[in-house]
């Protein structure tokens, strides 16, 4: 069932009225009469087509007459307008019981938008099985295969037994902390080891409460994306420098001249 949206119908009516008024003004006739007649005519035209448009809620007169006479024939009272159950549309006239003693009657036709607020729009969805599960399964297989094959060819490091009296040079933290160790060369340990990473993680966690921009489109959030990219680059570069460009004494070296001082 197609239905003309309310706002479109109103707009069409207004346009028609305007055009009518303009025509009337041009022809020099009285503008009031045709302007008033126009919407009524439009509503009458809409009634048989849509059935739910503005004035179309009214039950057609010939049906009303038929039901009224049928009710009288059956010896039933015609329900007086005052006795009718309150209806949402003021001018919808009540109908008496049918000739066969029908107990239902049509109170009113209410447009769906006026009492129900249907907000759920249908979404394009697919079955989790097989569409998602197959992708996940393949991803799991690939990562397992990668880890397995990598592990066959590359051994995890196992250096000599731990010895507290022999400090290796350089001593490096695990790679993901090498950014912090790099900061340690520039700042006081409390700033480099606690304040900066602590603040960084706190701000990271607060991101959704700080960033009030509702859009998730990249073109709308250039600032957030730039900030995050700079932040990620900052840590990546620090980790790279700490991993590959720091040699004995944690001094700056070039890996292609002095070799690699890095264990995973």
């Amino acid at each position: 069932m197609t239905e003309i949206p309310e706002h479109l119908r109103k707009r069409a009516e207004a346009a028609k009225q305007k055009a009518e008024a303009k025509k009337a003004a041009e022809s020099g006739a009285a503008p009031a009469a045709p302007a008033e007649g126009a919407p009524a005519a439009a509503a009458a035209a809409a009634a048989p087509a849509g059935g739910t448009g503005g004035g179309g809620d009214r039950i057609p007169a010939h049906l009303l007459d038929r039901s009224r006479s049928a009710a009288q024939n059956a010896g039933l009272e015609v329900a007086a307008p005052a006795g009718a159950v309150a209806t949402a549309v003021a001018d919808a006239r009540p109908v008496a019981s049918g000739p066969g003693g029908h107990t239902q009657r049509l109170l009113t036709v209410v447009k769906s938008g006026s009492i129900q607020d249907v907000r759920a729009t249908p979404q394009d969805k697919v079955h989790t099985w097989p569409h998602l599960l197959v992708a996940e399964f393949v991803a799991a297989l690939l990562i397992t295969a990668f880890t397995f094959i990598f592990s066959v060819f590359v051994n995890a490091p196992l250096l000599q037994l731990a010895n507290l009296n022999q400090t290796p040079n350089p001593s490096k933290a695990p790679w993901y902390f090498l950014g912090l160790q790099e900061l340690l060369t520039m700042f006081h340990p409390m700033v480099a080891g606690v304040t900066i990473p602590g603040m960084g993680l706190f701000v990271l966690g607060m991101a959704p409460y700080v960033d009030k921009n509702p859009s998730n489109k990249p073109e709308d959030r250039k600032f957030a994306i730039s900030l995050m990219t700079v932040h990620l680059m900052f840590w990546s570069v620090l980790v790279m420098i700490g991993s590959f460009f720091r040699g004995p004494g944690f001094n700056f070296v070039f890996p292609w001249t002095s070799g690699l001082f890095f264990e995973l």
Binding site: T128, L133, L161
Partner: protein
Amino acid sequence: MAKTAPRRSDQLADKVGEITGKVQDSQAWNSIFRPGSIFRKGYTDSPRNRSYVIMNSVLYHLHPVKVKRHAVKVSYTLCLGGLSFFLFILLTVTGIFLMFFYRPTAAQAWDDIYSLQTAVAFGLLVRNMHRWGAHLMVLSVFLHMARVFYHGAYKPPREFNWVIGVMLLQFTLLLSFTGYLLPWDQLALWAVTVGTNMMGYTPVFGRQVRFVLLGGFEIGSNTLLRWYVLHVLMLPFVVVIFMAIHFWRVRKDGGISGPL
């Protein structure tokens, strides 16, 4: 022989069918698989059975029956969250294997790892997988975070799940760091020394934090035991709880975000 062969295979097929029917009618079988499970009724590809695969299995705790079409595009998520979770499972499995051969004391830890590598079948391979898997997990969790940020997926209603995710990132780093000490070699000892020295600079209670973590003023057997318990029991326990909340919120907040 050619004449009797098909009859024999028919008989075999009948027998197999009969046994299958009996097993599937048995109380044991029907108590294992829920009504509607494809293992009770058999699977033919239909929309109803596609729903049953999820609905009548434990997978229903993880996935809804249907997901948004764009959510299954690998190019959107790059599978990073799922891979992090899968690596966690892989690390649990390989880690349990390693636990059979490892004693967390300063006198035995290194020797145990050494003999695991040289004397235990697949010991070296499983240890390698555990170590490389751990590094991969740190990487995939980090990339997952970057992916989620760039898609703006932390925005309402998913703010709190982002906070949980940031915590999971920290727990991942802690899990990796506590595991780093366990081989008890020079690499482990001094990497952890550098790391814990930094923790000692925490304002107000830095020295106490360091003392509790090390079980003394310097790294020793106590540290090894503490970090072992943290690594194999406490942190995984906490991480599993946080992961459960993380996955639950993904569904409650309306599935994954997007499309852009």
